[in-house]
Symmetry: C2
Subunit: 361 residues, 2 copies
């Protein structure tokens, strides 16, 4: 029996609530599909920072390298200055563990209402591969003459060919394996590069050259497309059906995946994975800590549950991952009234229970 | 009688077609409201570049400084490498004439269909003030070891306090003058800063400090709000009614204004202005050259017509600007079947005619 060592970081706000449901569902899958988790909980995030002044220490980061995977709830605190927890915990983990891919499916599940007119699960069904450890997130830059009238702030978007290549290869491979042709939903496996080649010529010139060279040489079977990030936002609303697998940089990926999330019914159902294909990955719902719903048992745990499914999918438990996804699909199609917190028609724990039960049976 | 010297740059693709209608409507306003245009046409853009190799020369740029305003159609050509025309014409004009504001109303006109469920003209009614000559558009950066496996590309987001301040002051002033309270549509004039303070701490730290300092000291009457750019994309779909006047940097502004455009019915109706409040401004529809509709008399000229209205508004002809906007409002409410090219129920010239006629009467 396969055993997986999992670090669980419930985090702040509603993070612990949704993580508990993800764990509940994973336990159900464990029993049914015959693998085992060894879970270790880590107390990280804003609450801890306010108590101890600690974010993610180097020692804890080292420890995290010893796990097979990490399950994260949400990190954030309204009383803490922006940037501290993000850079100190979330980005430190992403960068420190070299999780260079952020994988975000934009899939409208049956029964889930999209705010976009005339679009259904057939049209909203694509995956964004976001580069996750480069670009403007690198932190290169600073402030000169800070606080004066002459202050200059610089924040550099930096990409190396190496970073771009490994991200593109992941995306091309992913398109080959999970593109619309591969999953019987279209004639081609298409990879669309989203960039801004007409203005950010240095960085997006590099991406575009690498995209075409690697595509021609190694993935002639994958259809390639390109669109500017501004146009991509239009198309995600107007004709999301044109997308299959999308690849983009870190900042643009951050933006378009949130836009994608709202088209698929909101943060309650949007899952994500920070992936190091050769190392330790970390899975987290896209949504934040939702302070106004904390402790109310009203937040939607499906995003966390689907993140758990992505985790075991990445660990190789494909059948179990599919079972979780199917159980969620069943719940959205037949049970939940809405994806929004407090409007599901069920409590957080009830949603977790129904998905877990569905998997067992 | 006021006389305005206007440089008209019809540009490429459908640019000349929509510009002709904007000019037609402006002529109608001229007669009715008693001012005069002296128009000079400039042949700039992709077609000219392919013939002569020239983009926007320094001499022409100097000439343009002599006008009261500039009316632009669209610049672009499918056969020209991305970046050449953008940097050589459009951005050269924006930067050269120091048009440091890009003003983009996101207003759903009556009768126009938005792709967003449950939202109408009351909800989709805000204005984005985009910083237009700084940030990552500056062109600071380059490629090291280009074409090798060790290539590094750097594209720097650079903002000075000066740039940030003048943009913010424009936005605060604009909020005071045109915010929801000022136009009788709400209790406050609200200015929302859209940034990414939690990751891009150098640049957005500068923006945030300036925003709060200037707001406290000079605009205590303006309500302030902040949201991250990724969240802003969600809110623009989920609750656009929360926005009044929005201010943001160049790159984020590029992205969110295209998203805004689709929520207001698409590029056919989305107007924009590149504004130098102390100098020569340039007005352009957000849409591109639409190669597939070129020459067919099917493209929607309303975005160009509304850009013309913004132009004369900026020149001080408020009454005439309102008359054009009202005529467009009448056309969308009563005439056009759709904002999409070839689906309006009228030709390009017919739409121009009906708006012009409406103004005259
Ligand atoms: C919280 C923040 C640092 C993070 C990001 O910008 O990547 C979040 O928006 C996300 O998309 O996971
Ligand atoms: C064409 C391009 C250079 C331009 C921009 O990025 O600003 C366009 O997208 C716009 O928004 O006006």
């Amino acid at each position: 029996m396969n055993t997986y060592k999992i670090a669980v970081i419930p985090g702040d706000g509603t993070g612990p609530e949704v993580t508990a449901e993800a764990v509940k569902v994973l336990n159900a899958a464990e029993d049914k599909f015959g693998f085992k988790f060894e879970k270790t909980e880590y107390d990280l995030g804003g609450t801890r920072y306010l108590k101890t002044g600690e974010t993610l220490s180097d020692e804890t980061l080292e420890e995290l390298r010893g796990y097979d995977s990490i399950l994260l709830g949400a990190i954030g605190h309204p009383d803490i200055k922006p940037g501290i927890l993000e850079k100190g915990v979330l980005l430190k983990a992403r960068f420190g563990l070299d999780q260079y891919i952020n994988l975000r499916p934009v899939k409208l599940f049956p029964g889930v209402e999209t705010p976009i007119k005339g679009k259904g699960p057939k049209e909203i069904d694509y995956v964004v591969v976001r580069e996750n450890t480069g670009g403007v997130y690198t932190g290169v830059g600073g402030n000169s003459q800070m606080g004066t009238a002459n202050e200059v702030a610089v924040q550099s978007n930096v990409y190396t060919r190496f970073q771009v290549e490994r991200c593109l290869r992941f995306a091309f491979d992913y398109a080959r394996k999970y593109g619309k042709k591969a999953r019987g939903a279209g004639e081609d496996n298409t990879l669309t590069l989203v960039g801004k080649t007409n203005v950010l010529t240095y960085v997006w010139g590099l991406w575009e050259r690498a995209f075409n060279e690697i595509g021609d040489a190694e993935y002639p079977d994958i259809k390639r497309a390109y669109c500017h990030v501004d146009a991509a936002c239009i198309y995600m609303i107007q004709c999301p059906e044109m997308f299959d697998i999308v690849v983009t940089g870190n900042m643009f990926g951050d933006i378009i995946t949130d836009l994608g999330a709202i088209t698929q019914g909101g943060l309650g159902i949007a899952a994500g994975g920070n992936i190091n294909p050769e190392g330790v990955s970390m899975f987290e719902p896209i949504g934040g800590t939702a302070p106004s719903f904390t402790g109310l048992n009203q937040i939607n745990p499906l995003a966390a549950i689907l993140s758990g499914a992505m985790m075991i999918q990445t660990l190789g438990e494909t059948e179990a991952a599919e079972a979780i996804e199917n159980a969620v699909r069943w719940a959205t199609a037949n049970k939940l009234k809405s994806m929004a917190a407090a409007q599901m028609g069920y409590s957080t724990t009830e949603v977790g229970d129904m998905v877990a039960e569905r998997i067992k049976n």
